[in-house]
């Protein structure tokens, strides 16, 4: 077969159907339906099978992308899935939520220096992940049990990935989760219309099939400490993947008015506690009619789009930089725009104004302009003097970042860096012997795939620490 070239491949991306914006902004069903078989195969045709694939280097867990696409082209979907899951524990999740434009797809040869769209790698992964869930494919390897017991703190993507690898290596693995349901941000943060709970449940079921035990309602640090896990509870090693979920506020006047809340609170009430179904579920949300969300990352997008679906009449996004710097996945930004969110770029709130009952009523903003580049390399927004203006909002949501949760630092002697994140070396070992950490609690807020990659890396280090020879492991 002749080598494919940019000119011989299908120029347009294969079609993936999405719900109409008018309709979907009123329901929680998934926005995009995913490829059907025919379109998945068409999209596979677009891969050039590069001899030195840039996409692999662009993926934080180095998935053999042309490899799995080649298997798909041979109609060996099972083989493609097995190859995929050599590198990722959560293909149905990452295919949906990875910021592909910054990772694999951002460097794909089809898209670089052309006006073509790159190969839709994420969508192909999602296709395989969904097919595996539908067909009940399991990659339960032949596990040779050893005598080691490992505890995982936190059931987000970092913890789940670490647990999977260690279970496959023969360890007895227990995941401790503070909330009453496992999954971390995948459960309480990312909403149903982007990542259905059925997908998260399927991934958890996979872990259980590997023998991983989940214990929810356990606040590690307070119910028992990290040190106790090693000294009294008989664990040989511990992995910490507790995320970095403590939301920031801005410390401007009016922040404690009623109707002002963090995106985490809004999303937790809605996704974990089902506030959208109040009063069938007991947790209320109390969403107003005009919602303003401060910030424009993925968390902000989710908060805005959840608000629309819960019946807000107007949803505004207030962001101090411009659209170019917007940190959300491009797809989420476009979806939010299509669904009717109003964006106020280069705008920063300076004060929240309330009514006589202490409910937020409006938000006072100042116009910004871009100045010199700052430490992040992005141009620093500076306020334009005298440009203040007010607009009405009866719910104001903060989505301006998070900092590390203080509980483990309060309750153990684990080494933290000056920002409060857990300090690790290159192998993800912490200052406590036998204790490893990864994901957002080490790096600060990052991505699902990066957290997963960290979990796997830590699993590898733990295997070495425990002296488990990887040659004995059959994946």
């Amino acid at each position: 077969m002749a080598r494919k070239t940019i000119r011989t491949i299908p120029q347009e991306r294969a079609v993936m159907s999405v719900q109409d914006p008018e309709v979907r902004s009123k329901n929680f069903d998934e926005v995009s339906h995913g490829f059907d078989l025919e379109n998945a195969m068409l999209e596979c045709e677009r891969c050039l099978m590069c001899p030195e694939p840039a996409c692999i280097a662009g993926c934080p867990v180095s998935i053999d992308i042309p490899g799995f696409i080649a298997k798909m082209l041979e109609k060996d979907h099972r083989g493609a899935y097995d190859l995929l899951t050599d590198s990722t524990q959560l293909p149905a999740v990452c295919g949906r939520v990875c910021p592909q434009e910054d990772q694999c797809e951002g460097v794909c040869a089809v898209g670089v220096g052309t006006d073509l769209e790159p190969v839709a790698i994420g969508r192909l992964e999602r296709f395989l992940g969904d097919m595996a869930i539908e067909k009940g494919w399991q990659k339960t390897s032949h596990i040779v049990a050893n005598r080691f017991r490992v505890a995982i703190v936190g059931s987000g993507p970092a913890g789940m990935a670490c647990a999977a690898d260690l279970a496959k290596a023969g360890c007895s693995v227990t995941i401790y989760e503070a909330l009453h349901a496992p999954g971390g941000v995948l459960r309480y943060g990312i909403p149903e219309f982007r990542l259905p709970n059925t997908v998260v449940d399927a991934e958890i079921a996979n872990l259980k099939a590997l023998g991983v035990e989940f214990q929810c309602n356990i606040l590690v640090g307070r119910l028992f400490t990290i040190e106790q896990m090693l000294d009294d509870m008989g664990f040989d090693a511990v992995f910490i993947g507790v995320g970095a979920g403590t939301p920031h506020f801005m410390d401007i006047p009016g922040e404690n008015l009623n109707g002002v809340l963090s995106a985490n609170e809004l999303l937790t009430r809605c996704n974990l506690m089902h506030a959208g179904e109040f009063p069938k579920y007991d947790t209320p949300l109390g969403l107003g009619r005009r919602v303003a969300v401060i910030g424009s990352g993925n968390t902000a997008m989710d908060a805005m789009r959840v608000s629309l679906r819960l019946g807000a009449e107007e949803v505004h996004c207030v962001y101090r930089r411009s659209e170019v710097e917007c940190p959300a996945r491009r797809e989420e930004l476009h979806h939010a725009q299509e669904e009717g969110v109003t964006f106020h770029w280069l705008t920063n709130p300076v004060e929240l104004l309330g009514d006589a009952d202490n409910n937020v009523r409006s938000i006072r903003c100042i116009q910004m302009e871009l100045g010199e580049p700052d430490a992040s390399g992005r141009r620093r927004p500076v306020p334009v003097a005298g440009s203040e203006f007010d607009f009405d909002a009866d719910t104001v949501v903060y989505a301006i970042g998070t900092s590390p949760n203080p509980i483990l630092g309060q309750t153990s002697h684990i080494g933290l860096n000056k920002w409060g994140y857990i300090d690790t070396d290159d192998s993800l070992a912490t200052s406590l012997a036998g204790v490893y950490a990864g994901g957002d609690i080490v790096t600060g807020a990052a991505t699902v795939i990066q957290a997963m990659g960290a979990g796997r890396k830590a699993a590898d280090s733990i295997r070495r620490y425990l002296g488990i020879r990887s040659s004995g492991v059959v994946y």
Binding site: L223, F249, D251, S262, N264, T268, R269, D282
Partner: protein, 285 residues
């Protein structure tokens, strides 16, 4: 198996029409709990996450004790649903920073309303640390009183205040505090737990005397792990998250107006939930 997945209720005592005690089997929690900490309870899968102070713990029996005042839908439902032999869907804790049992020589431990039970482990801890403990508790009326003997066993002095004068001092707990301050003159610390209005009154009573006064704040919470920020309170003009930075704070630095206003956040929804719940109970009976 899931060792901590089921939380059986081993005993229950009803103190009054609205106040009841639940003793729950949770050996790990009984071992870890310290005075001032709280748990979050979900009665069932549809339930809210309700924060409740650990009013007592028994490390030998492996139980923790909660004392609940039925004030709205969730606490009413607990009152109806939580019976001995049954179990609770979810309970997580102990949460929050334990109360600092300082080396104060003489302390007043004040409990009012739903704060009477949780002040008990504090009084006991101070007693065990060698302090002279004055207990001051407030009830609306004598027939609502509970744990008198328990308090007397850990307090050097025990003062009851009732709104209607049917027992002890006729008046508020602040009068009990006032009297103790006058009688002693060397009080090092006051610890107060109860409704925000009561705690504010206690803090105002001790402020002129410059006596350190710790209060236990009860804002609306969701996760209790520092992740949502719903429990934020203003202390010394800074934002604090009561679930991880508290729940104990310096009463003289707390912005109680802020706390009170934020506690009203869900009034309409609470009313709606309560009416719906009462309706469905009526239909069932």
């Amino acid at each position: 198996g899931d060792a901590v997945a089921c939380f059986p209720i081993v005993s229950r005592t009803d103190f009054s029409e609205t106040t009841f005690l639940l003793e729950i089997h949770h050996p790990m929690m009984a071992k870890a709990a310290k005075p001032g900490q709280f748990v979050i309870v979900m009665v069932n899968e549809h339930g809210e996450r309700v924060p409740l102070t650990i009013a007592d713990f028994d490390r030998v029996k492996g139980t923790i004790t909660l004392v609940v005042q039925a004030v709205g839908k969730s606490s009413r439902e607990m009152q109806d649903a939580c019976q001995v032999g049954g179990s609770i869907f979810a309970i997580v804790g102990p949460m929050g920073i334990p109360s600092e049992v300082s080396n104060a020589k003489k302390v007043i431990c004040v409990g009012g309303g739903l704060g009477v039970a949780p002040i008990f482990p504090q009084a006991r801890a101070f007693k065990e640390a060698g302090a002279y403990v004055i207990g001051v508790v407030g009830f609306r009326s004598a027939n609502l009183m509970f744990w008198e003997e328990k308090f007397k066993s850990v307090c050097d002095e025990f003062v009851v205040c009732t709104d209607d004068g049917s027992a002890g001092i006729h008046g508020l707990v602040t009068q009990g505090i006032e009297q103790a301050i006058i009688a002693h003159g060397d009080i090092n610390e006051v610890v107060a737990i109860g409704p925000p209005i009561m705690m504010r009154a206690c803090a105002e009573t001790t402020r002129p005397h410059k006596i350190k006064t710790m209060v236990s704040l009860n804002p609306i919470m969701v996760d209790g792990t520092g992740m949502c920020g719903g429990c934020r309170v203003r202390v010394a003009d800074r934002i604090k998250f009561a679930c991880v930075d508290g729940p104990d704070f310096d009463g003289h630095a707390v912005d109680f107006d802020d706390l009170l206003s934020r506690l009203h956040r869900y009034k309409p929804e609470e009313k709606q939930a309560m009416e719906r719940y009462s309706d469905s109970c009526r239909r069932l009976s």
